[in-house]
């Protein structure tokens, strides 16, 4: 009985502390609600409206016409491809940055980071300069006599993949670098000194320990890829159509914001479902390193 007041005091202090945290949190929460939550809500309401009354016609159209599902499917497929390519390219980069001496590692990270500060539009046009029929790659190959006719490198899915991977790579390299640099080098040395081949050590030690970083990077790259607009429009030659282009096209064709909102809402829903599934496999707190 005698320690009750103390317990109460502790509980009171805890509540007070929580209130302070909550207050510190509020400006950020308000900002998100005001500039993300409210517009999304408007978008959601809009997707059920036409000419001032409620309707399901925009959703009905999406469910009726196979081209919409085709586009969602294509978008998912391209996003998966970009994610896989980012892992394949990003892992060696992140590993090199993690084990290299300090100067080298800074250089590698800077090279990954540098394009990050350039506008996506500029980078996309740069790829056009590199890849098109009379671009740098084709001119070089032609003058070296390796090919007789220019290769079709731009204005197709191949170019879209290159452009998107280039933009997305930093989002994969940095989480991977964070994860790999935390792995004690002793573990790898122990693995080899106990007779493990490099491949075995990679498979049993390095890969499992870097998995959280890879997972975090993959989620980032995948989700961001779903919303790409500029790169597929410019590098795809109009043949690679992703959901964001479909949103634009819906505004242009139907001149109804509801039609475009519905397309966007379904993409959002797909993202939420994916997030929910991911969260069941690996909690988000773990991905962002809070736990």
């Amino acid at each position: 009985m005698s320690d009750l007041p103390i317990e109460q005091a502790i509980a009171r202090e805890e509540r007070k502390e929580q209130r302070i945290y909550l207050m510190l949190f509020m400006p950020a929460v308000m900002l998100v609600v005001l500039f993300l939550g409210v517009p999304l809500l408007i978008l959601a309401i809009q997707s059920f409206q036409e000419g001032g009354h409620l309707t399901l016609e925009h959703y009905a159209r999406i469910f009726d016409e196979p081209i919409y599902w085709r586009t969602y499917y294509d978008t998912l497929e391209i996003s998966v491809a970009v994610t896989v390519l980012c892992i394949l390219l990003g892992f060696p980069l992140a590993y090199a940055a993690a084990i290299a001496p300090r100067g080298w590692s800074t250089l590698i990270l800077a090279l990954v980071m540098l394009p990050f500060w350039t506008s996506v539009l500029v980078r996309t046009y740069a790829w056009l300069v590199v890849l098109q029929r009379r671009g740098i790659v084709n001119s070089l190959l032609m003058s070296a006599g390796i090919i007789d006719a220019p290769l079709s490198l731009s204005h197709n899915t191949f170019a879209v993949l290159i452009g998107m991977v280039h933009v997305m790579l930093p989002f994969m390299v940095f989480p991977l670098y964070a994860a790999i640099s935390k792995i004690p080098q002793d573990l790898l040395q122990a693995g080899s000194s106990l007779g493990g081949s490099p491949w075995y050590v990679f498979r049993r030690v390095l890969l499992p320990l870097s998995l959280p970083g890879m997972f975090a990077g993959s989620v980032l790259v995948f989700i961001l890829s779903l919303g790409f607009y500029l790169t597929p429009e410019l590098l795809g030659g109009g043949k690679t159509i992703l959901v964001s282009s479909l949103v634009q096209r819906n505004i242009e064709l139907y001149l109804q914001f509801g039609a475009a909102s519905a397309v966007a809402m379904i993409l959002l829903l797909i993202v939420f479902v994916i997030f929910w599934l991911v969260d069941r496999i690996l909690p988000v707190e773990k991905i962002v390193g809070m736990r």
Binding site: E65, I67, R70, T71, L128, Q132, R133, R134, S152, S154, H155, E233, L234, G237, G238, K239, I241, L246, Q248, R249, I251, E252, L253, Y254, L255, F257
Partner: protein
């Protein structure tokens, strides 16, 4: 104390007047239009002189998708744009949807010499442009494709091709390629047009969406032939692209000027439209940019040699095919446009 105080007050009033009076006197008109080379030339020949003459400030706002933005602005009740130009079908649509302000023709005397077919209560024609067939002279020399049927003939004219990623006027082009006579085009046989397009689809390397893209495709030699706007083609050739274009079977459209409903600067907007239709200004515009002003009075201010190259030159009107904007604004036209998405996705 008192005199000093009133002197300070007086001084600050003078200062305030000096600071704010220009803003009050100078009205601003925001003009939504195309960007790029055409806007640069317009600034010099039409917009700049209008500002000087009317004592207003004109803010051009280049935007490629003007109709949806206009709709959103008017529906919000407080449009930020005042004057807009776009292809004629949108003026008809804007009128149908009640998004435009009726024009006050007493303020637009220059419209008198714009032919009747290019003006109505809500809009007035600004200029005509044509979708011409351009080809690379490095690839074909002087024996390039001359008709849309040639564009479809991949045996006789092998090479890379681009088409517009849009139904209008690609369906017209397909039908002309299939042998439909220009006078029998409308109403468009949409099924036949899409069938013809399926034929060429595997041979199309780029489906372009913006005018800037076409200049670049022609300039870099990324494709060997493509339909594009005459002004864009001319710009690319002036800048050194190894290309030529033909006006034979070119699809002619025109742009219209309109005022957004609920504009805060109605009076200035009307006067600005009048200034955009100034015959001398339009002549200067057509001298620096390949376009076809619709105020017919412009012709007397243009050199005959230059006139012959313009979209609205009499000789060119004979070989070009006018697009029927009213058909595209109809339900059949809207449906044909929606079908494009399905065609591209297949």
């Amino acid at each position: 104390m008192k005199p000093a105080f009133s002197r300070v007050m007086g001084l600050s009033l003078v200062l305030a007047a000096a600071l704010f009076s220009p803003a009050v006197a100078q009205e601003t008109v925001t003009y939504a239009t195309d960007g790029g080379n055409i806007l640069d030339v317009m600034k010099k020949t039409l917009i700049g002189p209008a500002e000087q003459k009317l004592g207003i400030r004109v803010v051009p706002d280049p935007n490629a998708d003007r109709y949806p933005v206009l709709k959103a602005q008017v529906l919000s009740g407080k449009p930020t744009w005042d004057v807009v130009d776009f292809s004629a079908g949108y003026c008809a649509r804007g009128q149908q949807e009640g998004l435009l302000e009726p024009l006050d023709y007493s303020e637009i005397p220059n419209a008198a010499s714009v032919p009747e077919q290019f003006k109505d209560e809500y809009s007035v024609g600004l200029s005509a442009y044509a979708t011409v067939l351009a080809y690379n002279t490095d690839t074909y020399g002087d024996n390039g494709p001359k008709t849309w049927a040639d564009f479809w003939d991949v045996e006789k004219f092998p090479g890379r091709r681009a088409l517009r990623n849009y139904a209008r006027p690609t369906l017209e082009i397909a039908l002309l390629a299939d042998g439909v006579a220009p006078e029998d085009l409308y109403p468009l046989d949409v099924d036949r047009a899409y069938k013809k397009l399926e034929e060429i689809k595997p041979h199309i390397n780029v489906w372009w969406t913006s005018g800037a893209e076409t200049t670049q495709l022609l300039f870099d030699g990324e494709v060997d032939m493509l339909p594009l706007w005459d002004g864009r083609a001319d710009t690319a050739i002036q800048e050194g692209a190894a290309a030529k274009f033909t006006r034979n079977q070119a699809i002619m459209e025109y742009t219209c000027l309109a005022v957004l409903k609920g504009t805060q600067h109605k009076d200035a907007a009307m006067k600005f439209i009048n200034a955009l239709l100034d015959p001398k200004g339009q002549a200067g515009w057509a001298t620096d940019y390949l376009t076809g002003p619709l105020n017919t009075a412009f012709a007397q201010h243009v050199e005959p040699k230059r006139l012959a190259r313009l979209t609205t030159a009499p000789e060119n009107l004979k070989v070009q095919v006018p697009l029927n904007a009213a058909w595209w604004a109809s339900e059949a036209g809207a449906n044909a446009e929606k079908r494009w998405l399905e065609f591209m996705q297949k």
